[in-house]
C-alpha cells in the first residue's frame, strides 16, 4: 500500500513538477492554493491526464513510466476517485450507482465488507432513489460508497467537501475519519482548507505553483513557516497529538497530556487514554514575558523562542518549543518536541523585545480538538 510519484507535466502556463512517496496507509493531504495543480496531479495518478514525463507507482504496480512507455488505462489502475461534484450517473438509482464499479471488478469485496461500508455511510434508505432526489451531502456519501465498493488500491478525493455548506461538511467529515481509522487504504485528499488538513490528515504534501515543496507527517509540517502556502494562512498553526488523562469532578473540562504539558479543554465526553489531535492556530496564541496570573485563559505553557520570521503585512510568526530548559532551543528541530506558533504584530514583538532563545510563556486562547472548536474563554 504505497504511492510513489515523480512526474513533470506542462498544462498551459503551469509547469507541474511533482515528486513524493507515501509509504503508510492513512490520509495524505495534497495541500495548496487554488490553481497550484492539485487536481491535475490526482487526474494524472488516475490516468485521466497523461504527464509529459516521469513515473507513477501504485501499490508496487507501475501504472505509468515514460521511459518504458507504460501507461495503464484508468480502468485498470484500481483507483477510487471521489470528485468535487460527485458525478453520480443521473439515469441510475443510488443502488445501481453504488455497484457500478463493484460489478466490473473481478477482485470484489465480500458481502460483509460491502455491508459494513453501506452501513457506515448510512445510505441503505436511499437505495431506490435517483441522484436528482439527493441532497449534496447524500450525493457525496453515495459517491464515496461507489468508489469504496469497487475495492480500489488507493482512494483519491478531490476537494470532496468544497461544494458543501458548513453543516453538510460536518455531516461528511466523520466518514473520512472512519475510513482513516478503520480501512487500510491510502487516501490522497486534495484540499485548500487548513482545518480539513488539521482534522484529517496523517501526512501532508504541500504544493505551490505546480511544485511539490515538501512532504512529511502533518505534525511536523503544519507548523513550518518556511512554506508559503501554509504560512500566513488565517487558520495556520500547529497540529499536536494528545491523550485524554482525566476530567474534573463535575465533568466540565477534560485534561489532556501533550508532550508532558497539561492542556485543558471543554469536556470531551470520551474516556481516559483516548487519543485526540489538537489544532492550535497561530493567531490564537499570545506571548507573555512572565507567567500571567489572573487571566481567563487556562492553558499557559512555558516555551522557548526558536525562531522569529517576518510574514506579509505587519505580522511576525514566532516559533516556540515546549519547555524552558537549555535543550528546548537547541534541539527544537530534531528533538521531536512539539513546536507552537504565535502570530503577533511586529509592533508587539518589538515592544516585548522578543528574540531567539528567550524563555517566555504561550497563552493559548482556544484549542480545536478533533475538528471541534473549544471555547475561547478556556
Amino acid at each position: 500500500m504505497s504511492i510513489h510519484l515523480s512526474i513533470r507535466h506542462k498544462i498551459g502556463k503551469l509547469d507541474l513538477d511533482a515528486d513524493f512517496h507515501i509509504k503508510e496507509p492513512g490520509i495524505t493531504a495534497l495541500f495548496g492554493p487554488s490553481g497550484s495543480g492539485k487536481t491535475s496531479l490526482i487526474n494524472i495518478i488516475a490516468g485521466l491526464e497523461r504527464p509529459d514525463t516521469g513515473r507513477i507507482e501504485i501499490s508496487e504496480h507501475v501504472v505509468f513510466d515514460h521511459a518504458r512507455q507504460i501507461n495503464l488505462p484508468t480502468r485498470h489502475r484500481r483507483v477510487g476517485y471521489v470528485f468535487q461534484d460527485a458525478r453520480l450517473f443521473p439515469h441510475k438509482t443510488v443502488s445501481e450507482n453504488l455497484y457500478f464499479g463493484a460489478r466490473r471488478n473481478a477482485d470484489k469485496l465480500n458481502r460483509e465488507e460491502q455491508t459494513a461500508i453501506l452501513e457506515m455511510l448510512g445510505i441503505s434508505p436511499l437505495m431506490g432513489r435517483r441522484p436528482a432526489a439527493l441532497s449534496g451531502g447524500e450525493k457525496q456519501r453515495v459517491a464515496l460508497g461507489r468508489a469504496l465498493l469497487a475495492n480500489p488500491d488507493i482512494l483519491l478525493l478531490d476537494e470532496p467537501l468544497s461544494a458543501l455548506d458548513h453543516a453538510r461538511k460536518q455531516e461528511i467529515l466523520p466518514y473520512f475519519e472512519w475510513l482513516r481509522d478503520h480501512r487500510r487504504i491510502p487516501i490522497l485528499y486534495v484540499t485548500h482548507a487548513i482545518d480539513e488538513v488539521a482534522r484529517l490528515a496523517d501526512h501532508l504534501v504541500v504544493i505551490d505553483q505546480g511544485k511539490t515543496l515538501a512532504s512529511g507527517s502533518v505534525f511536523d509540517m503544519l507548523g513550518r513557516s518556511d512554506l508559503p502556502p501554509l504560512a500566513g494562512q488565517f487558520d495556520a498553526g500547529t497540529v499536536l497529538p494528545a491523550r485524554i488523562v482525566s476530567r474534573d469532578p463535575k465533568a466540565e473540562v477534560s485534561f489532556l497530556e501533550c508532550a508532558g504539558q497539561r492542556i485543558v479543554v471543554p469536556y470531551l465526553g470520551r474516556p481516559a487514554s483516548h487519543q485526540v489531535r489538537l489544532h492550535i492556530r497561530a493567531r490564537d496564541v499570545m506571548i507573555a514575558r512572565t507567567a500571567p496570573s489572573g487571566i481567563s485563559a487556562n492553558n499557559i505553557i512555558p516555551v522557548t523562542i526558536t525562531d522569529i520570521s517576518d510574514l506579509d503585512g505587519d505580522t511576525v510568526d514566532i516559533s516556540l518549543c515546549f519547555g524552558h530548559d537549555a535543550d528546548a532551543s537547541l534541539f527544537a528541530a530534531t528533538s521531536g518536541r512539539p513546536t507552537l506558533h504565535a502570530r503577533i504584530t511586529r509592533w508587539s514583538a518589538g515592544r516585548l523585545n522578543l528574540e531567539r532563545h528567550q524563555k517566555v510563556f504561550a497563552v493559548i486562547k482556544s484549542v480545536t480538538v478533533d475538528g471541534q472548536l473549544s471555547d475561547h474563554s478556556l
Binding site: 488516475a46 490516468g47 485521466l48 488505462p73 484508468t74 480502468r75 485498470h76 489502475r77 483507483v79 477510487g80 476517485y81 470528485f83 461534484d85 458525478r87 450517473f89 443521473p90 439515469h91 457500478f100 464499479g101 466490473r104 471488478n105 435517483r130 436528482a132 432526489a133 461507489r146 468508489a147 469497487a150
Partner: protein
C-alpha cells in the same frame, strides 16, 4: 366518424410503413454518426458533418435524381444490389423508404448529437475510474443518457418522412399501393378534375397524423424526464 375509403387507408398505411422502416433503419447509423460528431476528434469530421446535413439544403428533387443515378437498376450500385441480393429500389416502396431515410437523416443526427453534447463529460471519467471500458461506457452511459435525443430525433424524422414528396416522386414515381404515400395521393387528387374533396380529406388526415405525432412525442418526453429526475 367519417369512414376512410380503401384508397385512403392504403395511402395512410403505406406512408406509415415507409416512414417507420426509414426511421428504424437509419437509427443505428444516426446514433453512430452523432456519437462520432459529438465525442470524436478525427480528421474529416467537418466533411462528415457537411455530408450529413446535405439533404437539408439540397432540393428534394435533386436528392431523388441523385438516388436514381446511384440506385437505378442500370446504375453500377443499383445493378450490383439487384444482381447479388435481388434488391430493387426503383419503383418500389423500399426505394421510397431509402429516400425518406436519407432526407430525414439530419433530423435524427442533430437531435441525438445535441443530447450527447449535453452529457457532463465528467461522468465518462467517473465510469472510467470504476473500470468501464469504451464500449461499456457507450452502452451504460452514452446510449441511455442520449435516449431523450434519440426519441425526439426519431419522432421528428418520422414526421419529416411522412411529408417527403420530391425525392420520392423523382426516385420511385407515383405508383398506387407501392409508392403513393399521403403527399403523393394529395398531389394526384389535386391533378384529377373534381378531386378537391378527396384532396381535402387526405389533407385533413395528414394534419391529424401530424398532431398525433406531436402528442406522442410530448408524452414520451414527459415520461423520460420523469424517469431521469424521480
Amino acid at each position: 366518424m367519417i369512414s376512410l375509403t380503401p384508397a385512403e387507408i392504403e395511402a395512410l398505411l403505406l406512408s406509415l410503413r415507409i416512414s417507420g422502416v426509414a426511421v428504424a433503419c437509419a437509427l443505428p447509423f444516426a446514433i453512430l454518426v452523432a456519437t462520432a460528431l459529438a465525442l470524436g476528434r478525427f480528421p474529416g469530421r467537418f466533411i462528415l458533418d457537411a455530408i450529413v446535413h446535405l439533404p437539408l439544403i439540397l432540393p428534394p428533387v435533386v436528392m431523388g435524381y441523385l438516388l436514381l443515378i446511384g440506385f437505378g437498376t442500370r446504375a453500377p450500385l443499383g445493378a450490383w444490389l439487384y444482381e447479388t441480393f435481388d434488391v430493387r429500389f426503383v419503383f418500389s416502396w423500399t426505394g421510397a423508404a431509402l429516400a425518406s431515410a436519407i432526407v430525414s437523416f439530419p433530423f435524427q443526427v442533430r437531435a441525438i448529437r445535441l443530447s450527447l453534447e449535453n452529457v457532463n463529460s465528467g461522468l465518462y471519467q467517473a465510469a472510467e475510474t470504476l473500470g468501464a471500458g469504451p464500449i461499456d461506457r457507450f452502452f451504460s452511459l452514452t446510449l441511455p443518457l442520449a435516449l431523450p435525443g434519440i426519441i425526439a430525433g426519431a419522432i421528428t424524422a418520422f414526421a419529416a418522412s411522412l411529408g417527403e414528396f420530391g425525392a420520392i416522386i423523382t426516385f420511385v414515381s407515383n405508383i398506387p399501393g407501392e409508392t403513393r404515400t399521403l403527399p403523393l395521393a394529395i398531389y394526384t387528387a389535386i391533378q384529377t378534375p373534381g378531386g378537391e374533396l378527396a384532396a381535402a380529406r387526405l389533407a385533413a388526415l395528414s394534419i391529424g397524423l401530424a398532431f398525433g405525432g406531436l402528442l406522442l412525442s410530448e408524452i414520451a418526453m414527459r415520461h423520460i424526464r420523469k424517469r431521469a429526475t424521480a
